[in-house]
Symmetry: C2
Subunit: 216 residues, 2 copies
């Protein structure tokens, strides 16, 4: 038998790193699918392992427990959403434009099957609201807050943070409604209308009918 060594890509079976990466990926994918389909509570680790084609020993070798696996599935999902938003709303755009572009990007990103259930339903329940928000903290709420800050609010007397939170919740519901089969166009229009109703065309507005003044 020959011994080919020090090859960057070992043709031999698999390096340990490759094995790890492969089984982790298989596990995450299988878990995601089952969590989406049956929810966190009604998905068993035996089922996940069967779907991934490995045994429970491997699962508990790579993940602390079932919740840890779920958390990583969630993180993966949240990162995808975040990336989509940032790609659509580059910092160079005008604030108001970026805000609206980001809004649409969020709703688009959330149409990926299972995403709403994972991030908006199962996540909060399984991880608790606090941890769940921590996972996708970098997500909509933060982006929204930034967008509102730059665009300005229609009324300076309210707290930007609070408004951002409430708007973020509305976004989530919009995504949920669309996912549940509601009129996507109407829901999306309503959501964007709501954003405009809140954001002030602080700078020299363009198309918006009239600027809202009224300060404290």
């Amino acid at each position: 038998m020959q011994r080919r060594k020090a090859q960057p890509t070992p043709v031999t079976p698999r390096s340990n790193r490759d094995r790890t990466e492969a089984t982790r990926a298989a596990l995450l994918q299988a878990a995601r699918e089952l969590f989406v389909q049956h929810g966190y509570g009604d998905t068993s680790t035996p089922d996940i392992c069967a779907a991934a084609g490995i045994t429970r020993g491997a699962l508990y070798h790579h993940f602390v427990d079932k919740l840890d696996l779920f958390r990583q599935v969630l993180q993966q999902e949240a990162q995808a959403v975040q990336a989509a938003i940032e790609a659509a709303a580059p910092a160079q755009r005008l604030p108001q434009e970026a805000l609206l572009a980001g809004s649409e990007a969020y709703l688009d990103a959330m149409t990926v099957p299972g995403r709403t259930r994972l991030l908006l339903i199962e996540g909060p329940a399984a991880l608790g609201v606090a941890d769940s928000l921590a996972v996708d903290a970098a997500n909509a709420a933060a982006s929204l807050r930034a967008g509102l800050l730059e665009t300005g609010l229609a009324d300076a007397t309210v707290a930007v943070d609070a408004i951002a939170q409430l708007l973020a919740a509305a976004f989530d519901r919009a995504a949920l409604q669309i996912d549940a089969g509601a009129d996507a166009a109407a829901t999306r229009a309503a959501m964007l209308w709501l954003v405009r109703q809140v954001a002030a065309p602080a700078a020299a507005a363009q198309k918006t009918p009239s600027a809202v003044r009224r300060r404290r």
Copy 2:
């Protein structure tokens, strides 16, 4: 129900109806407390029964299964909220007034400990979004829709239903934030501001908040 025999102090053990009512109440109360404390998934029926002072046999005699028990806990909770809203926003008031009064009543009602977790976190996860909304369908969203319909929207081009849904979601988040320890006054102010931003003051424009003041 008029069959009340005037027995002087029913020394007799207990009528079947009384027994049923008592154990059901004990079960519901114990279950509510544990569900609030540990969530639906991490609460076991043995624990519930221990807290209620009965055995699992009784639980499964009165409820189909654990989920059924949870559903009834939820229903109880949703009814309380609904009642609070209706009490605060009688139909006779001016539309706008009723809308704002109902809004505050909702936020008030949701400050009851555990209510946000039950209705907004555990409910959707355990029952599914659809069933969960069905349980408290008569709740905020519907009331809100009615309120918006009567008050009118700031813009006739958007769907009232969609906006009501989004606003309802914002209400839920507001309650969640307050429950999580956020600045209650600021959050509440932001929520009410948002409502005013949406509702068209068919009578007096969004000039002054005086029309919003309550009197009695």
